[in-house]
Amino acid sequence: MSLRNLVHSALCLAVSLVGLALIYLGLDAEFIGWIQILVYVGAVSILIVFAILLTRGTEAPAGRITFAPWSGLIIAGAVFATLAWTVIKSKALTEITGNPSLDVSFVVKNIGGKLVAEYVLPLQVMGLLLTAALIGAVIIALHERKGLK
């Protein structure tokens, strides 16, 4: 985090997520590209900006804000390496590159069909996880309100 102001950092995050979406669009992945803009840029980043504006002062703090700037770099590198390794090792990659005649038209209908037919269990698990997180957030918020009264 080289920028001192949290709001600037959050907005930079939004810009980099737009860049990622543009890469998806450049690769002809319309669906994932627009979902990226809709979810990450339009909802997640705006919520981050919103939360920062609501909770902290909008001025940059005076003193040091990070105490181990290099650790962030190391963590980022590790995450990237893990993701890259998974992508390179994944079965889909070898299937597509080893088989040029494969139909890779990622139409929305196909994605939806796959999600609710073939991959229904991961989808349900994800839904359960998100519901649990949602309930947890609500409980935390309720608890705080009780504390205030």
Binding site: W34, L38, I46, F50, T58
Partner: protein
């Protein structure tokens, strides 16, 4: 001269026609935006039993022509006013915010099919015929929030800040309701392409989706009021408590960009509603793609007529209803509309599943 175009290669033709469509759509939209401002003033005057601006006509003549010269006068006024930047603002964001408010409104118009063809069936009257049209629209609309948040943050003073915070919360909340409300439409149509949505409704008045999905239309309409920050949901700029909200510190053309952005957003969401619920460019007796130039222009005219009717509804509602309180607004969004939209999705999914059996 024009005959030689058909011998060009298809890519060059595509570029030429796309550029033409973009120019025409942009020009027409800008014209409609300024017309909408005058219409707003005239309609509000009728509703409040006043006369409204009816004097300004063509300059240096006595021709008044319903006071439509007011459009030019308003535009010129905005351009000539002093463009004042207060000392304490965050300058970069202060300049960026009006542009970020204005641009998404125009970008959404790119996927809306505003006509069938102009005689030649290969050249459809839509700028970008995306397969994920609706996702594109919602993605772009969600970017519009940034303009208002940035404006509130950039002004570096309390009222704009409160306005920005309010509006970001409001717009995010109602985006969810809006997004959920259109899902039943696509369950029925079976495609995210807006051209297919219009095609589904091309059988005439009785095939319009507003009859099959009245609840979806209702939620979408209310959410559109909230998304465009208009009464009864114009909390972000409620002048009685926030002195104008996020655009308090703006003047001249920067303020005009916010102002025009609001109307451009109105045009975008009205076009969206016409496309999704009122058959798009198809006349009430139904139609297939036009085969002659005049039929094609007629379809465009039908689209514009429906859009103008929706705009008048927006303006009418603004001057008839009082402003909601902020907690009521949030309550309505989260505890009424989102469950209603989910219920609608469930019922529609069941009906579609039974139908296909």
């Amino acid at each position: 001269m024009f005959e030689s175009i058909q011998y060009w290669d298809p890519a060059a033709q595509f570029v030429l026609f796309s550029a033409l469509k973009i120019l025409v759509v942009f020009g027409v939209t800008m014209g409609f935006v300024s017309l909408a401002v005058v219409a707003e003033r005239r309609v509000s005057a009728w509703i409040q039993d006043r006369v409204g601006p009816n004097r300004v006509g063509i300059p240096f003549t006595n021709i008044r022509f319903l006071g439509l010269g007011q459009m030019l006068a308003d535009g010129l006024k905005f351009l000539l006013k002093e463009d004042f930047t207060p000392n304490y603002v965050r300058t970069v964001y202060f300049w960026l915010a009006p542009a970020i408010t204005m641009i998404p409104a125009f970008l959404t118009l790119a996927v809306i099919p505003f006509g069938s063809t102009l005689g030649n069936s290969s050249n459809r009257m839509v700028i970008a015929d995306l397969n994920v049209g609706i996702l594109y629209t919602f993605g772009i609309v969600s970017l519009g929030v940034y303009g208002i948040v940035l404006a509130g943050y950039a002004a570096n003073s309390k009222y704009p800040f409160l306005g920005g915070i309010r509006s970001s919360a409001q717009m995010i909340s109602y985006e969810i309701a809006m997004g959920l409300s259109v899902i039943p439409i696509f369950l029925l149509v079976g495609s995210l392409n807006l051209g297919d949505v219009v095609g589904y409704q091309s059988g005439g008045l009785h095939t319009w989706l507003v009859w099959k999905q009245p609840l979806a239309f209702f939620i979408f309409l209310i959410a559109a009021f909230a998304e465009t920050n208009r009464l009864p949901f114009d909390m972000p700029e409620s002048e009685t408590e926030l002195v104008g909200g996020y655009h308090t510190e703006y003047s001249s053309m920067k303020f005009a960009l916010f102002f025009l952005g609001e109307y451009a957003n109105m045009i975008a969401s009205c076009s969206m509603m016409v496309t999704l619920f009122f058959g798009g460019w198809t006349p009430p007796w139904g139609a297939s793609a036009a085969t002659t130039l005049w039929a094609g222009l007629g379809h465009v005219a039908w689209f514009l007529a429906k859009m103008i009717a929706m705009m008048l509804l927006f303006i009418w509602v603004r001057w008839m209803l009082p402003r909601f309180r902020y907690d009521q607004l949030m309550d309505l969004g989260w505890r009424r509309f989102i469950p209603m939209a989910l219920f609608n999705i469930l019922v529609t999914a069941f009906v579609v599943a039974l139908w296909q059996r």
